[in-house]
């Protein structure tokens, strides 16, 4: 499940990317037009024009209500995001990155391009001159920026609110959609893992930068890469023993998690005394966290795997 907000500069192909992304995910784009059509009940044409024209009208209360259009907009989008569960959601514009900044499920994308590219795109799209396109861009960019500033008091162009910024000067719509979907897929795995800690006593141990403890782990990661098997390094800690006050006295953070196989692997290629301790921890994990698939890769397993890969040059009927 992915919630993806897309902020874009005019003429950067952001709208086209949102549409293609929604189509790939089998969902629809929640855009300003969608919001105006669906969030506020029936709107008379005059109000609709004003809401389309200027951000400040979002600060007006709805007829017969003390709540403003922006109040409703914020509430409806946050509700959509909260209730999306296993559905994908693509939110285009409307300051989605600001609106959903506290949502762990959401990833925020900004689509940009150089002015020359954007002018060219706008000129082609609307069959106008480059000078006219420059003017359209100026107005459009100012409106986008003003909308977010007026409604949320934030600057939509500041980069720190985005997880991914794409420059379409040299990227196609398809390439951008590939990048976003892959990021969303991996992000979803990480969020699900984090969330799984809420219902158990396990601790989130995910890091944004992998630092292997030894060469064996590095080699094993290479073997998994060889087979195109996705892995996360030490993403979770399983406490297995506590003292009388409830402090954790023994825990294990399995070296690898393979999301596709919902499997934790712990490498044990050291001394036998450590193996015995790890075996005990494994047993406790299975007892305390039923349903957890966890296995030890013993030194013998690892060496044999490496030997076979060497012998067969990676090609292995026998591995």
């Amino acid at each position: 499940m992915a919630i993806i907000t897309i902020s874009r500069q005019n003429g950067s192909l952001g709208d086209e990317i949102a549409e293609a992304l929604a189509s790939r995910l089998g969902t629809i784009v929640i855009s300003r037009k969608y919001a105006l059509d669906n969030f506020f009940g029936e709107i008379n044409p005059g109000t609709l024009d004003r809401l389309n024209e200027s951000a400040k009208f979002f600060e007006m209360p709805l007829p017969g209500s003390n709540r403003t259009y922006s109040d409703i907009l914020v509430e409806r989008i946050r509700t959509l995001a909260s209730e999306s569960k296993d559905k994908d959601l693509v939110i285009l514009g409307m300051g989605g990155s600001v609106l959903l900044s506290g949502f762990p499920d959401a990833i925020h994308v900004r689509v940009t391009a150089s002015e020359a590219t954007r002018i060219n795109t706008i000129a082609k799209k609307y069959r106008i001159t480059n000078d006219e396109a420059t003017e359209v861009l100026d107005i459009g960019d100012r409106k986008h920026k003003r909308f977010v500033k007026t409604v949320y008091g934030k600057d939509i162009t500041s980069p720190e609110q985005f997880d991914l910024i794409l420059n379409t000067d040299r990227l196609s719509v398809d390439e951008c959609v590939d990048a976003i979907t892959e990021l969303a897929r991996k992000h979803d795995i990480r969020v699900r893992l984090s969330r799984s800690n809420e219902s158990s006593k396990t601790i989130d141990h995910q890091s944004r930068n992998i630092s292997f403890k030894n060469e064996t782990e590095e080699e094993f990661a290479r073997i998994l890469n060889l087979y195109n098997i996705e892995w996360l390094y030490e993403p979770k800690t399983f406490p297995v023993e506590w003292d009388a006050e409830g402090n954790v006295t023994m825990a294990i953070s399995p070296d690898f998690y393979l999301p596709r196989f919902n499997l934790y692997l712990e490498l044990t290629t050291m001394d036998q005394k450590y193996v015995t301790k790890k075996n005990k921890k494994m047993r406790l994990v299975k007892e305390l966290y039923p349903g957890t698939n966890i296995r030890i890769v013993y030194k013998k397993d690892f060496n044999e795997l490496v030997d076979r890969l060497k012998l067969f040059g990676g090609l292995t009927d026998n591995s």
């Binding site: 087979y227 990676g314 090609l315 026998n318």
Partner: protein
């Protein structure tokens, strides 16, 4: 020139032709019962499953479709180990079909996991695994092995599809060979 047994330096027979034949018949019968009335595609993994696939499919009394999949490692400048890639993809459309993957031997399950991941992209209804030999003590991956001929340990084996430097696949039985240094 040495004959096949001499070339492989066979230590002893682990599973005879007769034992294999009987076991394949049993597995074939079980698969026939389990997939009765279902559309089944049997996919053998090149090259090890060659003989097992051939015997097994003839022991299944169903109108199955048969295909094969092959993979190989190719060098990759960014890693020491290279990358595994499909070299012979399946030709049959398996979308929404039951798929039975046939292997000669599953040890760690890494190659099987790789094949499953690739086949899953083609959206079959489900994927079931059948292997002639299974080493449960070495199995690392959580993969759905439903049918297997025999459990093995860490012996080095050849015959009935299993090779030693590409030699020995055509040995009609499974034999222990010396571990290579």
């Amino acid at each position: 020139m040495a004959n096949l047994e001499e070339a492989l330096k066979i230590e002893h027979v682990v599973y005879s032709e007769e034992t294999i034949r009987e076991r394949v018949k049993e597995i074939g019968k079980q698969i026939t019962e389990d997939f009765k009335g279902k559309e089944l595609v049997v996919i053998g993994v090149i090259k090890g499953s060659l003989y097992f696939l051939s015997d097994l499919t003839r022991a299944i009394d169903l109108p199955v479709k048969v295909d094969m999949v092959g993979f190989s490692s190719i060098p990759d400048t960014t890693s020491k180990t290279g990358i595994v890639r499909i070299t012979k993809d399946i030709d049959i459309d398996i979308t929404d079909k039951h798929v039975l993957v046939v292997e000669d031997v599953i040890r760690t399950g890494l190659t099987t996991a790789y094949i499953i991941q690739n086949l899953e992209m083609k959206k079959p209804k489900d994927i079931t695994l059948c292997t002639m030999l299974l080493n449960p003590d070495r199995l690392l991956m959580t993969i759905p092995v439903k049918y297997y001929g025999f459990e093995i340990n860490d012996l080095w084996l050849a015959g009935y599809g299993l090779d030693h430097d590409e030699i020995g696949r055509n040995l009609p039985y499974i034999a222990q060979i010396p571990k290579r240094k």
